[in-house]
Symmetry: C2
Amino acid sequence: MNKENKLIPGLPSGFEDRWDKKLLLKKKLLTVIENNFIKYGAEPLETPSFEISENIGSFIAEDEANPMSDVFSFKDGDKSITLRYDLSSPLARFVAQNNQELPSIYKRYAIQNVFRNEKAGNGRYREFLQADFDIVGNVNSSQANAELCNLISATLLECGLKRDQFTINVSNRKIVQGLLDELQITEKKQLKVIRAIDKLDKPGFGIKGVEDLLRKERKDTSGAITKGADLNDKQVSKILDYLKIKDLNELKQNLKNPLSQEGIKELEDFIEVLGYGLNLDQVKTNFTIVRGLAYYSDFIVETNLNFKVTNNKGKEVDIGSICSGGAYAKLISRFKGVDIPGTGISFGVDRLLFALMQLDQFQLDEQKPVLVCVMDQKYLKNYYEILDLLRQNNINSEIFLDTKKNLGKQLTFANKRQLPVAVICGENEFKDNTVTIKNLKGVKGENNKTIPMKDLIDEVKKFI
Amino acid sequence: MNKENKLIPGLPSGFEDRWDKKLLLKKKLLTVIENNFIKYGAEPLETPSFEISENIGSFIAEDEANPMSDVFSFKDGDKSITLRYDLSSPLARFVAQNNQELPSIYKRYAIQNVFRNEKAGNGRYREFLQADFDIVGNVNSSQANAELCNLISATLLECGLKRDQFTINVSNRKIVQGLLDELQITEKKQLKVIRAIDKLDKPGFGIKGVEDLLRKERKDTSGAITKGADLNDKQVSKILDYLKIKDLNELKQNLKNPLSQEGIKELEDFIEVLGYGLNLDQVKTNFTIVRGLAYYSDFIVETNLNFKVTNNKGKEVDIGSICSGGAYAKLISRFKGVDIPGTGISFGVDRLLFALMQLDQFQLDEQKPVLVCVMDQKYLKNYYEILDLLRQNNINSEIFLDTKKNLGKQLTFANKRQLPVAVICGENEFKDNTVTIKNLKGVKGENNKTIPMKDLIDEVKKFI
């Protein structure tokens, strides 16, 4: 290959490499989340990245004319296959397929990447990790949904968040659904209305943005126009009135239709069960949350942080929900032969990590290796003996791999990698059966120590 | 949705769901592998599933006319993006891109899925997990490659394999490369020859299969024809002679060309350094291994199990290599501005797991939850107090979620899920401040025990 033909390394837009501190913290966060999922009784499930397109469809596309415009689909023989865009649709397919073998109440967790073929930017990625916990089966929904909220709270507390740093907002989709039915808004327009309300807390939206989307159209600051739901004045004003109500009792007085009343009753029952646990104060009813996904049927939840985070451009931003979900009565029954409801939550791992990294409450446990330096090629066998001794005692360790470098360069390398300890031995040490260890994090000039070989393990352990 | 429109749940061919024991064992295996990667001094790296197609290409396609026929590619604006088919190509792209920030000797591990758009079947999946460890930089290659073999051995031993149950086969690609050059085989034909040799140990191949592929064509048992490398008689016979040589000294006498001699010398140096460690007996030279991937330049390694495994059809099969790799001098320098070699290995996690599951040497540590039964709705608050107590003591636990079921149905559920313990409390217990626990794995009729509430945690711990 000549020089002109050489490639320029880079990634497609909307994708990111992860390494170093950021990845180590992510791994630690995943361990916390996974341990809590297990603690709450869930079993792991892993489904493939690809599904048959029609089996998972897309519940997120905003473009009606092209409902699969936001997913990655491939032609596969006479079928079409699609990379999953969430973990709920594959769960529904899996449960429908394996229903007979699963316990009557099936609690699974899944921690996997999802793919969205959307425009990237502003911290939005086209591949990102979700961590989901779901309860599938004909259960007491108050109990099941209270479990979800208890799990969210327990997990976030274990991540180092304090109780006043997050709020779990809950509502019941039946409440707003009852209102939409009452206002005789056509089914086709209803999802548009739900998505308009869902945008209320998005930057630059607010009540005016929602109103524009309920009416004919919304023009954003860039001049781009989004088509609205085209509701009439009465419909718009009733919905805006609804969004102003904060109190469950006031809501009960205002919405007299049976479906809204049913939703309110379910929310009250949920709050009662939640009160038996430790997290009642973390949870607030909030009737402006609706969740944009079409499959939610009743209980819905969004978890928000009560502090602002600073984005990469140094600007304070509201990071949005870090753990959301809800109940889906019909998602699984799209498949033949099953009629089982489910309810679940999904942690947005990257978002949560982004917020946690700004707080300094979530610390890294580093496990960097001890470096065995190679001072003299003729002692290579001895260096390997030291290396094996360290590893047999379960101490992460490595031998310097480029025998042409002097000690200075080896230590520069160790410092660049922030290694904790170097083992440095030459003729004197091997003659006396001793070993010199250097504490690389210590005070300059005072960190070399020559000790009997038999003390190596104990001494090294002091510095790692 | 009416009944006729309902979907039939299923997966595209070549993809699989994982759950239950198999997934739990896989997770345990990954922990063992990852801990050894860290122990040997590597840092984690996570690259996205998609790469710009030209940056990773495909080094596996057998179809010359369509070199990207075996990967999943997707049009993305004016670019093409491809799901990674291995973890070495993304590593090369990453190192080329971030070279300035990385340490001069960069050891990274990556545990991620790869995608191959091949015909599925016989345990071959189109998405599978690889676990890679690589050393990138201008290092002493004998030391670096010895580290790889030490790591393979340490990891497999920790998986429960005994020393006589696996062999790490090594060779040096320069040896066969020297021979091909000497025989004046054109560059275009060389990769075909390498791939023909690589198939030697595949079921149904053997020396005759290789010979056919070196000549005009090979017809397999189904009658399908594969085009061969079309070598002349002398070239074929020299290559077949080479494949019969087992001994390094004999090889040294037979192959006098400078490149083969260089490869032999590198192998000898590697063996010397390997001898300083604990795994010399695990490693054997084997000149019939060549590795089919085009980018290997010198050291190559394949790890084989010394026992047969039984496939899903009850037939004994040779499962092939469970950990392979080698050195790639030029993979990274395909990119502008870098000229760094690398060497690495890749564990085939699914294959290794498949073999381990047949041995019974790799055991599962289950962490199933304790079940708090709901005997009477009016004590729900008390049940939640017990649940919180268990969880606060870090005991995995759950409350039964369907309050309409009697105790018998709750215990049936617990048994189906193989839960270890049920907590069963009614009026008597709450009056006396006691609690009844049932050991679900104990002898029938002798497993109920009513104890003071304060002893709950200690007693439950005995059974989990």
